[in-house]
């Protein structure tokens, strides 16, 4: 997880957008360099996927061959035999539950920090971001004892801890959104006859929907991709995709299985990301 600094509570979190500003347009060599850099970055992200895709369906690929010598479904069969389907189910459930817990909590924290007088707001800000600075295994080992004493079921414990780890992402995303959200629009809706409930559903939610989707997606990723907390707090009883990948990678001759599971693990977030890009935009209300 990348370390992100907590936002200063006094810093405005939105900046004016000025499309078409001539000072920011690049021409000539600068434009060429910009395009080349973008292509290099795209290649940098795509390159690791190529060997994964090749390995996933390679029954035999020995050095120094450039391409697999035998193609087949051994990787798929082994992955299924090792419990890939339940592992995907567990990961999906974990991601969704973490998202379901951390997103509303992030919304509440962000709204409180953006609109209300929170006592010791800078301290609260730092606390919200503390999970990013704290190594996961430290928190997991420390809290595991507490969760065991409290007889919290392992799966619930994992969801609980991962939700705390997702909170910095959801609260920050929503804080940015609330910073740009104009409360005067909500007041206007009230004066037009909308009840507080109608304002939430008919004004606030549509306007904040893209940010909510982004926050939920980030929280899902935390649950989907976690390994350390799942292993330590789950006590080995919860087998998720990262746990299965790590276990397969620890053995020998599992290259195809590892590659297949890793490549497949990309699909759900990728689908969500595409969905976010396509449907996560604020509706603009009509045609020009």
């Amino acid at each position: 997880m990348a370390l992100t600094l907590p936002p200063d509570s006094r810093t405005p979190l939105s900046w004016p957008v000025q499309p078409g500003n001539g000072l920011r347009a690049s021409h000539g060599i600068a434009r060429t360099l910009r395009i080349l850099l973008a292509m290099a970055l795209a290649l940098w992200f795509a390159l690791p996927l190529v060997p994964l895709a090749l390995w996933a369906f390679a029954d035999r690929w020995s050095f120094p061959a450039v391409l697999p010598q035998a193609w087949g479904w051994d990787g798929v069969r082994t992955a299924l035999a090792q419990g890939a389907v339940p592992a995907f189910g567990h990961s999906l459930l974990l991601g969704l539950l973490v998202s379901a817990v951390a997103t509303p909590l992030g919304v509440l924290a962000a709204r409180a920090l953006a609109y209300h007088r929170v006592p010791y707001a800078p301290v609260v800000n730092v606390l919200l971001f503390a999970p990013l600075a704290l190594p996961a295994f430290v928190a997991a080992l420390g809290l595991n004892v507490l969760l065991l004493r409290l007889q919290v079921p392992p799966f619930a414990g994992v969801v609980l801890l991962l939700s705390v780890y997702a909170l910095p992402y959801t609260s920050y995303t929503m804080r940015v959104a609330y910073g740009a959200h104009d409360l005067a629009i909500e007041e206007e809706a009230r004066l037009l006859g909308a009840s507080p409930w109608q304002v939430t559903w008919r004004v606030q939610l549509p306007l904040l929907a893209p940010a909510l989707a982004r926050a939920a997606f980030l929280a899902f990723l935390v649950g989907w991709s976690d390994y350390v907390i799942t292993v330590l707090v789950g006590g080995g009883t919860i087998v998720t995709v990262p746990v299965l990948v790590a276990s397969a990678a620890a053995g020998t001759g599992n290259d195809a299985t590892v590659a297949l599971l890793s490549a497949a693990a990309l699909l759900p977030p990728l689908v969500l990301l595409l969905g976010l890009g396509l449907f996560g935009r604020r509706p603009t209300g009509g045609r020009p």
């Binding site: 009230r190 004066l191 037009l192 306007l207 604020r282 509706p283 209300g285 009509g286 020009p288």
Partner: protein, 375 residues
């Protein structure tokens, strides 16, 4: 009357602001009239409007609409709508659905609310704009949609918070005409916040003048200009001539001589500041009748000029049309109509007058009382 608004002793203080933002404001607005809340920035006008709308809770005092106390009544149930400086249109709805919003939240079927909204769009001369996204509107169009949206809520009281201040002068004038037309058609009670005297005079019948959270005066537009109740009110209304002197037997005595005051008011004797609007002073040729003065300065004011005049050592200002051939040092004659004169207390000298403790203040509101009685 349903839309009559009465404010009784309204006060409001925000923590950390030092003083009250509103201080004992009492105001009565008749149903179907338009009153401008005029004053400089920070006078408390917008806070007052928000308190009337229910968006701010006053510390003390009451807001009554149609005789009903609004304490504890939620903003959505007050029968009011507000148009602010920014149109604040809902960006996720198109123009038609913005205007239909009030109807749909009241539970009216969407089809009916949209048909109703189309009528209001026509009223603000934006027929056919319904399917457009709000981002495709110009500033003036967006403000028209905001007005249509507010009117579609069928408010008994329409609150306008500097709604035209972000528009260019030409568009603002168009919007003033539009507002006049809407008043003729729908006749809501209107309270409009503005810091522009000309705008207040253009759209409202009455002006409530505010400064430092206090209401200084509430009168018809004409009386606000011709009979300010205090020196502060006169200055805020743009009055430029203040002549110190004394009132005796219905005349004001100063370096300008004895000037008879309007006889529609009983002027209290004592030290008083004579006020006369710069627009009311007529500047004539040297060989004509009137008070002798010398031109000491000229300043262009668009189609008019502000002339600084030295009359018997008193500095006066008068506005004249551009075409008049005047130059510094010219001798002229001034005519000051009696009806244009008013006297208010001179805060520097009023307390020095014998019996100042018991003497009622000199105020030019007498004619206001007469005017009200005439009505």
């Amino acid at each position: 009357m349903i839309g009559a608004v009465t404010l009784e002793g309204l006060s409001k203080t925000f923590p950390g602001t030092g003083g009250p933002v509103l201080e004992d404001v009492n105001l009565s607005v008749d149903a179907g009239t338009c009153t401008a809340l005029l004053g400089p920035s920070g006078a408390g006008k917008s806070t007052l409007l928000r308190a009337i709308a229910g968006l701010e809770r006053p510390d003390t005092g009451r807001v009554l609409v149609g005789g009903r106390d609004m304490a504890g009544v939620r903003p959505e149930r007050r029968g009011m709508a507000m148009v602010q400086q920014r149109p604040l249109l809902f960006p996720h709805l198109n123009v038609l659905d913005n205007v239909a919003f009030a109807g749909t939240v009241r539970g009216i079927p969407k089809r009916v609310a949209r048909a109703d909204a189309a009528g209001f769009l026509e009223l603000v001369q934006l027929a056919g704009f319904g399917p457009r996204p709000v981002v495709a509107l110009s500033g003036g169009q967006a403000q028209r949609v905001a007005i249509a949206r507010a009117l579609a809520a069928r408010p008994a009281v329409l609150l306008l918070d500097e709604p035209f201040s972000a528009l260019d002068p030409e568009l603002r004038s168009v919007m003033h005409d539009l507002l006049a037309q809407l008043r003729r058609t729908l006749n809501p009670t209107i309270l409009m916040v503005t810091h522009d005297r000309s705008e207040a005079a253009a759209v409202a019948e009455r002006i409530a003048l505010f400064s430092g959270g206090r209401m200084l005066q509430h009168d018809s537009v004409e009386l606000m200009y011709s009979r300010p109740s205090s020196l502060e009110a006169s200055r805020l209304m743009g009055g430029a001539n203040e002549i110190a002197g004394t009132v005796r037997k219905g005349c004001h005595h100063s370096a300008l001589g004895a000037l008879r005051l309007p006889d529609d008011t009983t002027w209290q004797p004592g030290p008083g500041m004579l006020l006369v609007r710069q627009e009311s002073i007529e500047v004539g040729p040297w060989d004509g009748p009137g008070l002798h003065a010398t031109v000491s300065g000229l300043r262009a004011l668009g189609p008019r000029r502000l002339v600084r005049l030295d009359a018997a050592g008193v500095l006066l200002r008068a506005e004249v049309p551009l075409g008049r051939a005047l130059a510094e040092g010219d001798s002229v004659r001034l005519k000051i109509p009696t009806s244009a004169l008013a006297v208010v207390d001179d805060p520097d000298t009023a307390h020095t007058f014998p019996g100042a403790e018991t003497r009622p203040p000199i105020t030019s509101q007498g004619r206001g009382t007469l005017a009200t009685a005439d009505n």
